[in-house]
């Protein structure tokens, strides 16, 4: 294994962090999972360049990152379309390619979705903290010194030359999610759905909600028709553990979809987004609209299994071709 400098940050953009699939096993100490908000795209990017699915990638929010290759490296860009350019040419997403030493890669601005993932063949060489390389910004650890990327940061990789043969791989078109401005999320009611009125539950299922600007990696704040709770219950509940995808409704009746930077919460949760749809949450941006549909636990499992089978199928195919 040889650790070598791979890329240099020329301009970081407003919010670029290093994330893997997340940090698990420490929630009882208050440590949230962090990790990529769109793990599907992160895993796909890693698979394309011949990494383990769990390697850390750059998570680029909205726009602005510009990097330079310090040597030849295999890369793949997945997730939301932030108009990536290789030098002066638009770059194909969901495809592995080679950045030659001195090439620049820049993200010009938002076209579809909200976050792009950039994988480097060989991964990013970072300390694993509490079992993960993900950045926890609020407590300042993980990733690169627990902070946002800055101009001048140099990221290293493990033997990136071994990944140069992983070029020209394309993720199957039918596996690539379509990012729209209208989202449809599947949910399962609970755990406190019985503390909302029937009308409140119907409101959630039958109304479009808009993503508010005050959304971040902690939660997606929505605005739309008020979700009515039972008249006898208080505004908040006794705090308890939460997971990403849980839809909590504070006193103002406006739902918030919890994301990956918190582990406990004191508002009641009407429903939870199914695991197969979680990755979409990472691509919703302010102004987008969202609707909800209830499905059964069994359908949720089947949907997830199908998705995993298709990812496995693609991995198998490229390992045969490699």
């Amino acid at each position: 294994m040889a650790v070598v400098e791979a890329i240099e940050v020329l301009s970081p953009g407003p919010l670029t962090t290093l994330q893997d699939v997340g940090r698990f096993g420490y929630a009882r100490y208050g440590v949230p999972p962090s990790g990529a908000l769109d793990t599907f795209s992160l895993r796909a990017a890693n698979v394309l360049v011949g990494n383990n699915e769990n390697e850390a990638c750059l998570e680029i929010t909205m726009f602005g990152l510009r990097i330079r290759a310090l040597r030849d490296v295999a890369i793949a860009v997945t997730g939301g379309d932030l108009r990536p350019f290789l030098n002066d040419t638009p770059l194909s997403m969901w495809t592995s390619l080679i950045l030659k030493k001195g090439d620049t890669l820049s993200f010009k601005g938002l076209k579809d979705g909200c976050r792009s993932y950039l994988a480097i063949g060989g991964g990013l060489f970072l300390d694993e903290i509490l079992g993960s390389r993900s950045t926890n910004l609020s407590s300042g650890f993980g990733g690169l010194e627990g902070r946002l990327l800055r101009k001048g940061d140099v990221l290293s990789s493990n033997s990136p030359h071994l990944h140069l043969k992983a070029k020209g791989r394309c993720y199957p078109q039918d596996l690539i999610p379509r990012y729209r401005k209208q989202w449809h999320l599947r949910i399962i009611f609970g755990p406190q759905n019985d503390q909302f009125t029937q009308e409140g539950k119907n409101t959630l299922l039958n109304s479009p909600y808009q993503v508010r600007h005050q959304s971040d990696r902690t939660g997606i704040r929505l605005s739309g028709p008020l979700i009515e709770r039972m008249p006898e219950v208080q505004e908040s509940i006794i705090s308890e553990g939460v997971i990403s995808g849980a839809i909590q409704v504070p006193g103002d009746g406006q739902p918030i979809i919890i994301l990956v930077e918190i582990v406990t919460g004191g508002y009641r949760k009407i429903a939870t987004v199914i695991t197969a749809d979680l990755a979409l949450l990472g691509q919703m941006k302010p102004g987008d609209m969202v609707t909800f549909e209830e499905i059964s636990l069994n359908d949720a499992y089947e949907t997830l299994q199908e998705m995993e089978e298709r990812i496995k199928g693609f991995k198998k195919k490229i390992s045969i071709n490699a």
Binding site: F24, G25, Y26, A27, R28, Y29, G30, V31, P32, I129, L130, N136, S138, S139, G140, F141, G142, I187, I188, G190, P191, I238, S239, E240, G241, V242, I243, G245, A246, I262, V263, T264, K269, A271, T272, V273, I274, T275, L297, A300, Y301, L304, Q305, E308
Partner: protein
């Protein structure tokens, strides 16, 4: 909750007894882990089991919980640890001390006497890494949150809200009333475990002076 977690509820109130049962169950479950459980998050009156739905079904977890319920009395649960937490009260370290004393129409000394006079139980670690929610404050010290939350609360700040007390492990925004500061480090991601306190631990605050505070810090 959803297709990958289940909330196990052991009561519907904040009480040391209910919380002790949460601790017993979550420790018992952690000591004989099931493949596919990702997290166990104990809280005041419940614990959340997060699992990998590709490895484990809800039915398996439910039957495991039923077994556990039958056997819980026979499982030996270690006693919680007790920790003394040094605090420098008031002044620049406790910017809400005067307000709290005025609110209760008592002197600062009386606030300190009440706050240090009780052994608190850590009901939950949450909100941020290492933040202990502890109860219960003596009746006479129950205080509402600040009307306007602070944007910056320094690391180690010891604060109260309603009938609870907590410690901010890192600098953060927050709405609790700050009485003082501890030199102890509540969270260190490089340590194992990363948090000084665990759910169920017992905490007693001890008042210290400026000299001792500086000594702790060095």
């Amino acid at each position: 909750m959803g297709d990958r977690s289940v909330l196990v509820e052991l009561g519907d109130e904040i009480s040391p007894q209910v919380n002790r049962r949460v601790r017993e169950f979550s420790i018992a479950l952690m000591e004989s882990p099931i493949e596919g459980i990702v997290e166990i998050v104990p809280a005041y009156r419940s614990f959340l089991i997060i699992y990998d739905p590709l490895k484990l079904t809800l039915a398996t977890i439910k039957s495991r919980m039923e077994d556990l319920q039958k056997k819980i009395k026979e499982i030996e649960i270690p006693e919680p640890k007790t920790l003394e937490v040094p605090v420098i009260y008031g002044g620049k370290y406790g910017p809400d001390m005067e307000w709290v004393a005025d609110y209760h129409k008592m002197g600062v000394e009386e606030v300190i006497r009440l706050h240090t006079g009780t052994t608190y139980q850590v009901y939950m670690i949450g909100f941020m890494p290492g933040f202990p929610y502890m109860g219960e404050l003596p009746q006479g010290l129950g205080t509402p949150r600040r009307e306007t939350p602070r944007t910056v609360i320094p690391q180690g700040s010891v604060a109260i809200a309603q009938r609870q007390t907590g410690i901010y492990p890192v600098e953060s925004p927050g709405g609790w009333q700050i009485l003082g500061r501890t030199p102890l480090k509540l969270f260190n991601p490089l340590h194992s475990p990363p948090a000084l306190l665990e759910m169920g631990d017992l905490v007693k605050f001890v008042s210290i002076g400026e000299a001792e505070f500086k000594q702790w810090q060095s």
